[in-house]
Subunit: 424 residues, 2 copies
């Protein structure tokens, strides 16, 4: 690979998500060479992906070119490529565009959808971890509604307008709320031949409450908000299979639906080559110490979702959301600078900024420390925080404008089937 | 098709471009049923497609949901489908979702790219008539630059950074200018390992000047602007073939390029079923009278690019751009209302509002009547007019913001390879 080797140490970073970019940003003035690999040429702001799937935001406003983030950094190199394997003995990585040696490696590859080896769901369900996947979902939702408007067959219409979302975490809850609002704002106005009660939104959750990581109060409020919007929430319900039409639950219940969204689990997406006992098989996360160093290695680090740092508070590792990744990235960046100056590293300490989820307009829930609140104020806090963390001034303005516009007009303006989704 | 037949006459419109939507808008208060067919669920603002291909605008800001445009109209029906054939004897159309009878039919299907039966160009060249095509072009341009940054082979790098655009009309000129600015604003900042002079932009035109439909003065100014931006303009040059790597001209000259954009011609996209002598074979346009009625038919009309209305001023039919389509649509709408009231139709008269094209920041040319001017003021006029005609308040604001942002930052912010383009 044509990257000049200088006398500065070379740090290779895999993954331009929250962890990777927070780390590189902190290294800004450090005398190192940084090479960033990602399979996309942009950073994805994952917390707002569900708004792309439901036509609330255009994809371009939650994506940001990776090269642009670091255009001011000296000796920074971006490579759009797939990293295939790490060779920790030779300090080398093998990628789809060749091999490269490194002095330090930071793995920040995040997670991918976990289908739990269920073939039917994997083939027929819609995951949502990337922008192309979110756009496929947007196309499918809009296509199914268009088709429902065309058909004369009441059973076909029922299936086309039956939306099943599996997983009562933030993603599932936010998707269900957005779809319920789609029905109210758009089906009502733009599809005069469809009746609003023909469109049904189901949220299926295995546990006994939605938003399980949040406080009980917030879970209850979210459930009420969902039900108020007309979402049919099924708690304590496990999905067994989906064949493209029929959803089957473990308890034998079935339902027919042409849209089946799988938001029920993620698993780490590690890179091949790291020795097996440093990787937790069940969750696909690397065991790291309090400096994010992968167990058993000196020069290999892992960050964020793909890292499992066991602490007293988090015996199963930190939650796989943005904040731990951002904070670990920053800490590791600072630690690298300390290390390069010969100082000792400082252990990572997670600062819990709280959790939040939005269900619909004026409807969100927020947990901060032991306080929790919900409703319109929570919704404003949610919007403010998401705009704040969105990368780039342009994306913030466009997102803010879209939200204002959609709010005033009860609209979701990005209702475009640009690349129709090819169903099985 | 489940569209209720009422006692009002049914007008079927094929195509939601400028002609189709202008027509339906004018019919707003008329007592008719309107059924609009389009293969996309959105209207495309074609004059700004080139900005999507060159990462200046996101696709969502130049597209607008067709259902939304007409949500206030009574008895309006949209169907996303492909119209396959017209049966003018039975007053019926056959589509991908079934058949439908009509009282009146308005064909406003526009044009598609004309490859002049050249297989090599059709298979390997990039056309740009739709949003998916523009997005493919955006991906290919960005992919080729990423690959150029990776390769060690100077010949491969040369081919990857050699951009060939064929056709010196507004599309070709605007694309060439935008690519030249991409080099200056982005290659320089975000690709430190690439030299700006390694990227070359060629514009190939068969005639002796660019922007042939405009005044000589404007053509000359545009040529100077292009050359000032570093575009290599080749006049009086006809392309013979392109095999995916080598561009061959009629005079035997060759050049190797991995990006080959075909903006050298369009042809009408008529619907099957109309009798042969009402369709001009060479241009695929319907012969219409001054009321846009297709020759030999009473209830069939054609509008805009796919219609050929011969007048003294335009013996070859009106130019295939937005204005004639918009004006014919409006005229036909008014005429329908007159006809339904038993009044006589009025013949179409084209009002020439002028022509304009933009080459780059502060660089545009405008012809209005016998006046022509170029430069920064022309550029502001160009922007103002395009914002004015863009459908929808939201799209106008987002486009305006993007232009301002890109202007201040010398950026093209939508540089995202969302769906990589698969090369042959």
């Amino acid at each position: 690979m044509n990257i000049p080797k200088t006398d500065k140490p070379r740090i290779v970073v895999i993954g331009g998500g929250f962890g990777g970019i927070s780390f590189i940003k902190k290294m800004n003035r450090a005398k190192v060479q940084v090479v960033l690999f990602d399979r996309h040429n942009y950073h994805t702001f994952q917390p707002l992906l569900y708004q792309v799937s439901t036509a609330g935001l255009e994809p371009d406003s939650i994506a940001y070119p990776l090269r642009k983030i670091f255009r001011e950094r000296d000796d920074f190199h971006f490579r759009m490529a797939e990293v295939e394997e790490v060779d920790p003995e030779k300090n080398e990585i093998h990628t789809s565009i060749g091999s490269l040696s490194f002095d330090y490696l930071v793995i920040a590859t995040g997670t991918r959808t976990n289908f739990f080896n269920n073939k039917g769901i994997q083939e027929n369900g819609m995951p949502m971890k990337t922008i192309p996947q979110a756009l496929n979902m947007r196309s499918l939702i809009l296509q199914n509604i268009e088709e429902a408007d065309i058909t004369d067959d009441p059973e076909e219409k029922r299936q086309l307008l039956n939306f099943v979302i599996v997983g009562g975490g933030p993603t599932g809850v936010e998707l269900a709320g957005a779809l319920a609002e789609f029905r109210k704002g758009i089906l009502e106005n733009d599809y005069p031949q469809l009746r609003i009660e023909d469109m049904r939104v189901h949220l299926i959750e295995g546990g006994d409450r939605v938003l399980a990581p949040m406080s009980k109060q917030s879970s209850n409020k979210a459930l009420k908000f969902l039900e108020g919007l007309g979402v049919e929430v099924h708690l304590n319900s496990l999905v067994k299979d989906y064949d493209g039409t029929t959803v089957t639950l473990e308890d034998g219940r079935t339902s027919k639906a042409k849209t089946f969204i799988w938001a029920a689990g993620v698993t780490g997406s590690p890179v091949r080559g790291i020795k097996a006992n440093s990787l937790i098989e069940r969750s696909n996360r690397y065991v790291v110490d309090s400096f994010n160093r992968i167990e058993g290695y000196e020069h290999l680090f892992a960050l964020g979702d793909v890292a499992k740092m066991v602490t007293e508070q988090f015996p199963e590792g930190h939650p796989q959301v943005a904040q731990p990744a951002i904070q670990q990235g920053k800490r590791l960046g600072r630690n690298f600078r300390r290390m390069l100056k010969g100082k000792e590293m400082k252990p990572f300490k997670y600062f819990d900024k709280g959790t939040m989820a939005t269900i619909g307009r004026n409807k969100a829930v927020v947990d901060i420390k032991n306080i929790n609140f919900g409703g319109a104020f929570a919704w404003f806090v949610w919007m403010f925080v998401h705009l704040w963390f969105l990368v780039g001034f342009r994306n913030r303005v466009i997102t803010f404008f879209n939200w204002t516009y959609n709010y005033i007009n009860y609209d979701r303006a990005a209702r475009l089937i640009i690349r129709p989704f090819k169903k099985n």
